[in-house]
Amino acid sequence: MLDALLVMALGAIVLGAALGYAAVRFRVEGDPLVEKIDAILPQTQCGQCGFPGCKPYAQAIAKGEAEINQCPPGGEEGIHKLADLLGREFKPLSAEHGVEKPKAVALIDEQTCIGCTLCIQACPVDAIVGAAKQMHTVIADQCTGCELCLPPCPVNCITMEPIPESVENWKWKYPVVKIVPASKVAA
């Protein structure tokens, strides 16, 4: 009887130690669900969802503390993807968080800019270059269009310019079936 107990106890200790070691040795960095949600979010880092960036919003969704329809840059498509991932019901974009807008990038009017560096401090992705009292400029390729640089500018010299359609980024349209008026068909 005692032998059996000892064996079981020993087994429990050895396995416990092994599990404990494995937990430390093979620890997964970060939360995989948060990573998956973050991969869907558009990384605009605009804070419209009510969180200070996409990652915090992803964490809040993972914990069940936030709805999936709070990210305007992600749009309907993003909500669909989140709904699929999390097995939740699709909801239209919540109006209080904003509306989906066509993609745009910030443009600094270089004549008006006074070089105050306030926009540099606001940009979450370091897409603005310039030095104190020097003219500033936006690196368009890196601008996410978050609009966070607009309010701090004391001379209102930053505007959002929609990205123009070009031969490179043009997309084939969804094939539409033309509806021909009956009169024409007869003719």
Binding site: D38, L41, P42, Q43, T44, Q45, G53, C54, P124, V125, D126, A127, Q142, T144, E165, S166, V167, E168, N169, W170, K171, W172, K173, Y174, P175, V177, V180
Partner: protein
């Protein structure tokens, strides 16, 4: 040739009406230089070239006007001599109807060449030869305009087994490769020999559809003249799309290149015959790519092939062939894979193998689309062995991930599926739509990943700055405390000893001496002044004093 080439088939394919006779009756003619050339800078796959000229510059024929942007790009050249009248946005030969950067040249009629000299590729390194071809603007002339120098690379094993030259030209109406092979067989094979040497391939197979007996005969005669046993001319059965690269490789060598792999991994590389001719011109004549053969066919009085300078307006070109009055559209390429142009005033570019003139009568609008009945006809004819109806279903429902699982990107947009579909579904339109949506998402995803990295880096930097600031502050406080402690210690020190008094007195005396010495030195330019100058200085000093007086209330207390 006496060696019998065993032929292999490829899956699917259709036999549309070929309509090739009309444009092969007359030999190639040079299209006259127009009064204005609009040369788009971006004419190949890869990065858009940077303009090298500006309005007002005089350019010579063959002068480089756009420099390749990195290695995956290709240069562009002036097609004739003249004056640049602008580098501006112009309508592109693209379905979108959008504009892009073009160099607009007003020809001077003298057609003056830049200095041309042959390139000795045997003396140059392979990299130097590739760079030369990139700067000569040589790209694939079959329609894909992929930079040729990137393909003239012997692949992993360092050498290739087979160089395939594609002269199949399976698309209806188009005959530019046919007439090229008939009329310029010898230089074409010299180009092929150069390519074979660069790729160290052991043989060259030229695949031609068997509905072009003249071209086959011309090339066979040329091969005999060249006395090159490694070159074989092979007639392949006429069936659309025999000219697809993968289909031709399969028909000639029996090799089926699997999904996601390159033909070079199997020792085969494929080029269009027009490209071989362009390489001959670039290497042996030192001429960059500035023109190509273009078929003008369809709704015209006289279809024909022309040697056309890039930048020539399609309207001018079509006018040479007396278009019929009911003409209502211009298509670049053939009826199966071509693209409808937004206007007839778009330039001929490197990708323009054919300008197809259309009308309601020639290409009647398709009857209305009906639901897919899953008959499987499309899968039977698909040369890429795909399941077009499945891809259609998912593209239509915008479930792009699924469409990709059915290998959407293996679709060569040949149009066989839509050609046979009894429900007349414009299947290729759906595939093009789905492909461009997937591409756009890919680009967005890349941008998002970069934004995430930059954002995380910024957070990291802010954190580091915060820590550094805290450390500095701590150090400062520590230093302040030390100073205070030192001051305290000083105060508590006993009064100076007599020796110290003496030392201090010595130092004070030295300082006194130094001061006296300094006082004796006078600035040179204030000596020997005239009375007027003296007066002026006095006036200025007075003004300064006045200003100082005025400024006093504004100065800070401690100033």
């Amino acid at each position: 040739m006496n060696v019998v080439q065993k032929l292999f088939g490829f899956h699917g394919g259709v036999k549309p009406n070929y309509n090739k006779e009309a444009s092969t009756r007359l030999p190639i003619a040079a299209a006259p230089a127009p009064t204005r050339l609009v040369i788009p800078l971006h004419q190949s796959i890869g990065g858009p070239p940077r303009p090298l000229v500006k309005a007002g510059d005089r350019v010579l024929k063959g002068q480089r006007i756009g420099d390749a942007d990195g290695d995956v790009s290709s240069a562009v050249h002036a097609s004739t001599s003249g004056t640049v009248i602008g580098v501006e946005m112009r309508l592109m030969p693209h379905t979108s109807g959008l504009s892009a950067m073009c160099v607009v040249i007003e020809p001077d009629g003298r057609d003056e060449w830049v200095e041309r000299k042959p390139f000795d590729f045997r003396a140059a390194t392979p990299t130097a030869t590739r760079d030369y071809l990139r700067d000569a603007g040589v790209v694939g002339l079959g329609g894909a305009v992929f930079p040729s120098h990137l393909k003239l690379n012997a692949g992993k094993q360092g050498r290739l087994d087979t160089l395939v030259l594609n002269g199949a030209e399976c698309e209806p109406f188009i005959t530019c490769d046919d007439v090229l092979m008939r009329e310029r067989a010898d230089p074409l094979l010299r180009g092929a020999a150069i390519m074979r040497e660069m790729l160290e391939a052991s043989r060259v197979l030229v695949g031609i559809e068997d509905n072009k007996p003249e071209a086959i005969a011309a090339l066979e005669a040329a091969a005999k003249r060249a006395n090159d046993a490694s070159i074989q001319i092979v007639a392949v059965p006429t069936r659309y799309p025999a000219g697809g690269a993968k289909q031709l490789i399969r028909a000639l060598t029996g090799i089926e290149v699997p999904h996601g792999e390159r033909s070079t991994d199997y020792g085969v590389q494929c080029f269009n015959v027009g490209t071989a001719y362009a390489i001959y011109e670039a290497i042996e004549l030192g001429q960059p790519l500035i023109s190509r053969i273009v078929t003008v066919a369809g709704n015209v009085g006289q279809a024909r092939n022309y040697q056309v300078l890039f930048g020539t307006s399609m309207r001018d070109l079509v006018a040479l062939c007396s278009p019929l009055p009911d003409t209502d559209r211009i298509i670049m390429g053939g009826p199966m894979m071509g693209f409808r142009m937004p206007s007839d005033d778009v330039p001929v570019v490197k990708a323009t193998n054919c300008v197809l003139v259309g009308s309601q009568k020639l290409f009647p609008p398709p009857p209305p689309e009906m639901p897919c009945i899953r008959c499987g006809e499309c899968a039977k004819v698909c040369p890429a062995d795909l399941q077009p109806f499945e891809m259609y279903w998912f593209a239509r429902a915008r479930i792009f991930g699924k469409a990709q699982e059915y290998h959407l990107f293996d679709c060569i947009e040949c149009g066989c599926c839509a050609y046979v579909c009894p429900s007349r579904i414009p299947l290729v339109d759906y595939y093009r739509f789905a492909k461009s949506e997937i591409w756009a998402r890919e680009v967005e995803k890349e941008a998002a990943d970069e934004a995430r990295d930059r954002y995380e880096f910024r957070l990291l930097r802010e954190e580091r700055e915060k820590q550094e600031k805290a450390a500095k502050l701590a150090a400062k406080t520590a230093a302040g405390r030390e100073k205070a402690a030192a001051a305290l210690a000083e105060a508590e020190k006993p009064a100076r000893t007599p020796e110290e008094e003496a030392k201090h007195a010595l130092i004070a005396a030295a300082l006194e001496r130094a001061k006296a010495q300094k006082d004796q030195v006078h600035p040179e330019n204030t000596g020997n002044l005239t009375p007027e100058q003296q007066a002026e200085i006095a006036a200025i000093e007075a003004r300064r004093a006045e200003i100082r007086e005025q400024a006093k209330p504004h100065l800070r207390q401690d100033d």
